[in-house]
């Protein structure tokens, strides 16, 4: 009997508060490109960390070529022939290409000196062998990200890797660079390597992989031969919705969008940013909730970051409350009446060591400038009011915000923006990682604010939530807006349908 290259059986991994993997099976054959897909928290990275020795599993077995293995460190996994290339290349940018490829295995003379000539020759051989022509003497930093990634692959292959794990290698590559990398992957596959390819891009799964495994909530939600599985079935498996439900709604046509109810307060025409999001149009009216739906990495967050001025757009027109915006910045956005609660609370939302009150007052004080003096008593009064109206559970206002639960931290950030009385409120994953109670509160708060005439952009990875909350939904795929659903046409099935639609000719850049 011929063994598979990698056989993982019944892998279980439990963290103190969550079961990350719950009996996952995964098989990789020789000469196979195996795509691994799934939404946030599906368990992809945990599975890979276990395979590459960065983490130990609690139960289950891993076999390499039929022999049980239990890599305890990444180095041990590497000795077994399992190599990983991460999204952020983990090489040394200031060393030369040759040094990076042969680091730790430099050809040496009898005296222990490095033989530079031999080293360059050897590196050259490795690269030519893989069909790359790169000057091996130049520093790695001067290469494009794509080439750096391919050099990382070359290093792995030269270390006799038999299994290659590519963790979101294409997320910062443009179309041409992606094609280059795919060509290399195919070449290595044809030589018998097994490649695990993690990606958020549905199209790339179809473009390059032979087999695709979907993880969801720590379980295997399906494993298919890529040629045999429809996009819709794949999206259904990722989101955990039955296919027939999605298929039924497939025929539902989007009705013409009704005339705007209120004054338009946000308009974007052809706004784009390279490597982030393709040109999109967007219009938002007062008293409207616009949902942005799409898989992880589809460009949802990138859109609100552009609208809020965190990132500069590379082109397109933007008008907020009727005024054209030139060079954008968060301060300008805030002055124009826009607020954004960011996706990553910890790194972009909270100042962890500051108190609940200070975190709440930050945007207001920031808008007024440093010289303004807002008496403590007044600050406390405002903060108190929002602690009550949002029912934030905190022992007192001066407690460091880091000590609050996730849901309460999110409410503190909401309070920070609500007290600014914005006309446009953008919520990026406001309900991620918070308990059910807080989730419901935030949803009803959105309804309340909408009724008061606030314009809201709502992003969530949970389709049901987007469908429940939004009056209109823009669907994104692979960093482009691919559809819009209005009013009655909004359903999880219809959204899935739009995500799964095969791209039109020339749609995929």
């Amino acid at each position: 009997m011929v063994h598979a290259l990698i056989e993982m059986r019944g892998i279980v991994k439990t963290y103190p508060d969550v079961r990350a993997l719950d009996g996952v099976d995964f098989t990789l054959e020789r000469g196979q490109i195996h795509a691994l897909v799934g939404e946030n928290g599906a368990g992809k990275s945990t599975l890979i960390r276990i395979l590459t020795g960065a983490e130990r599993h609690d139960r289950g077995t891993i076999a390499l070529d039929g022999a049980m293995i239990e890599p305890r460190t990444p180095a041990a996994a590497q000795r077994l022939g399992i190599a990983t290339v991460y999204q952020e290349v983990n090489l040394i940018p200031d060393l030369s290409v040759a040094e990076n490829i042969l680091l730790g295995r430099e050809p040496r003379s009898r005296l222990g000196w490095i033989r530079w000539g031999a080293m360059r020759e050897r590196a050259c051989e490795v690269l030519t062998d893989m069909g790359l022509s790169v000057d091996v003497a130049q520093s790695l930093r001067s290469c494009s990200i794509a080439v750096q990634q391919m050099i990382a692959v070359a290093r792995a292959v030269d270390q006799q890797a038999r299994v290659l794990v590519l963790d979101e290698p294409t997320s910062s590559l443009d179309a041409g660079e992606t094609a280059q990398l795919f060509a290399l992957m195919r070449r290595l596959r044809d030589r018998g390597l097994g490649i695990i390819f993690i990606t958020h891009f549905l199209e790339q799964v179809y473009e390059v992989s032979d087999r695709v495994t979907v993880l969801r909530g720590g379980r295997c939600a399906g494993s298919y031969s890529t040629g045999d599985v429809s996009r819709l079935a794949l999206v259904s498996a990722m989101l955990g919705k039955p296919v027939n439900e999605a298929a039924r709604a497939g025929s539902a046509e989007t009705p013409p969008s009704p005339a705007p109810l209120h004054r338009e307060c946000l308009r974007a025409g052809g706004v784009f940013r390279r490597h982030a999001v393709q040109p999109f149009n967007l219009s938002l009216c007062a008293g409207e909730v616009l949902g942005l739906a799409g898989l992880l990495g589809s460009g949802r967050s990138e859109i609100v970051r552009l609208l809020f001025g965190i990132d500069q757009r590379d082109g397109g027109d933007l008008a907020i409350n009727g005024r054209a915006i030139g060079r954008h910045s968060p301060r300008r956005a805030i002055r124009a009446g826009v607020a954004l609660t960011p996706e990553d609370r910890r790194s972009a939302g909270l100042i962890a060591h500051l108190s609940v009150r200070e975190n709440m007052m930050l945007a207001l004080l920031g808008a007024r400038g440093w010289a303004c003096r807002l008496p403590l008593r007044e600050q406390r009064m405002i903060a108190e009011r929002f602690v009550r109206s949002l029912s934030i559970a905190t022992p007192d206002l001066e407690r460091p915000v880091a000590q609050l639960s996730g849901g309460n931290q999110q409410k503190v950030i909401l309070a920070r923006w609500l007290l600014m009385e914005p006309t446009i409120l953008m919520l990026d994953e406001p309900t991620r990682g918070i308990d059910i109670g807080a989730k419901e509160q935030i949803e009803s708060l959105i309804a309340e604010l909408r009724a008061k005439g606030m314009a809201i952009i709502f992003i969530s990875g949970e389709l049901e939530e987007v469908v429940r909350v939004s009056r209109r939904v823009m669907v994104l795929r692979d960093r482009a807006v691919v559809g819009e659903l209005t009013a009655a046409a909004i359903s999880t099935a219809a959204v899935m349908q739009a995500i799964a639609q095969p791209p039109a000719e020339g749609d995929h850049a």
Binding site: S347, L362, R373
Partner: protein
């Protein structure tokens, strides 16, 4: 509030220990007398001689809290002295000399700030540039000579004058402390500095003007370094471009660290840094005054002893080390 008191605990304890040591080793340390309308005591001398570092430490606290560092403050002190002495020599009025010196130092602070915020030069490199160049500029102004100030010039009052029974430098440091404390407490400046030092990205998302805030911290630092330079120059009645403020940037950074402000930025304590500066100065004075068996401590030991004490204070502050020590002491019992 309780948080800030715990952070002041270690530097205060170190200072108390040092004073207790003095009470035993050199009781003269605590002698008081009133001479020529001013209090005279080694304790006052500590504050008087420590005033420049106290001023530097105040500014350095803000700069470090905002996530930066300023190595140029010693050189900026030298610039202040050179500008003031040069103008006094050329018949400028005292007011003009002081104003011009402070203006130059403010510009120096802004220059640092602009290099960092607009050109994106890392703070340690940006201020290293002025650390070298500033002293050079001071030497150019003084033509490489020590410029003396007329003995009867009113300018000297900054370093030698007395008011309210206290030496002028002590009063200046006191006023600067009060003014800065008020500024960070009664405006949003202190909060903003803590924000950008604590989490710059989140500050940007909250709409703070990160650049201006950082610039303000460096500008304040420049002004305070200017004041320190003027005190130093008035004290010795001469502008010595080679030696004025030499290595004091390091004392200022030490004072901030001893005072419990993390070098990584964020929460800061002006009072802590002040205590740190006083601790450093009283250490020097202690070493000078201490006698063992009728023999004084050799001056050459000064720096080594200073380093040892600073090391101990910093180790005491390390919660990691305390945790480890606790584990070691508990183990035999377990």
């Amino acid at each position: 509030m309780r948080d800030s008191i715990t952070r002041l605990l270690w530097p205060l304890m170190a200072l108390a220990l040092l004073l207790a040591f003095n009470a035993v080793a050199s009781p003269a340390f605590f002698h008081w007398r009133l001479a020529e309308g001013r209090l005279a005591s080694p304790l006052i001398d500590v504050l008087n001689q420590g005033a420049p570092v106290m001023l530097l430490a105040l500014g350095m606290t803000l700069v470090i809290a905002a996530g930066g560092i300023d190595l140029s403050v010693g050189a900026v002190m030298a610039m202040a002295g050179a500008v003031a002495a040069h103008l006094l020599q050329h018949d400028g009025s005292v007011a003009v000399a002081i104003a011009a010196a402070l203006a130059v130092c403010l510009a120096a602070g802004l220059w640092n700030g602009l290099l960092i915020t607009l050109a994106g030069v890392p703070p340690i490199v940006a201020t290293l540039i002025l650390m070298v160049a500033g002293r050079g500029i001071a030497q150019l102004i003084t033509d490489g000579q020590i410029i003396t100030v007329e003995p009867e010039s009113a300018f000297l009052a900054i370093g030698r004058g007395t008011a309210l029974g206290l030496p002028a430098p002590v009063l200046i440091a006191l006023v600067a402390t009060l003014a800065l404390s008020a500024a960070v407490r009664f405006t949003s400046l202190g909060l903003f500095i803590e924000c950008i030092g604590g989490n710059e990205e989140a500050s940007r998302y909250a709409g703070l003007d990160v650049r201006s805030i950082r610039l303000a911290a460096y500008a304040i630092m420049g002004l305070l370094a200017g004041l320190a330079g003027l005190i130093d120059t008035a004290d010795i009645a001469a502008a010595d471009a080679n030696n004025s403020g030499l290595y004091l940037e390091l004392d200022a950074i030490l004072a901030v660290v001893i005072g419990g402000t993390a070098l990584t930025g964020g929460r800061f304590s002006l009072l802590g840094s002040l205590i740190g500066a006083i601790l450093i100065q009283s250490l020097s004075t202690t070493i000078l005054m201490a006698e063992f068996g009728g023999r004084s401590v050799p001056v050459e030991l000064n720096l080594v002893i200073k380093a040892a004490v600073v090391l101990i204070v910093c180790l005491l502050q390390s919660s990691e080390l305390r945790r480890r020590l606790l584990l070691v002491t508990r183990r035999p019992g377990a």
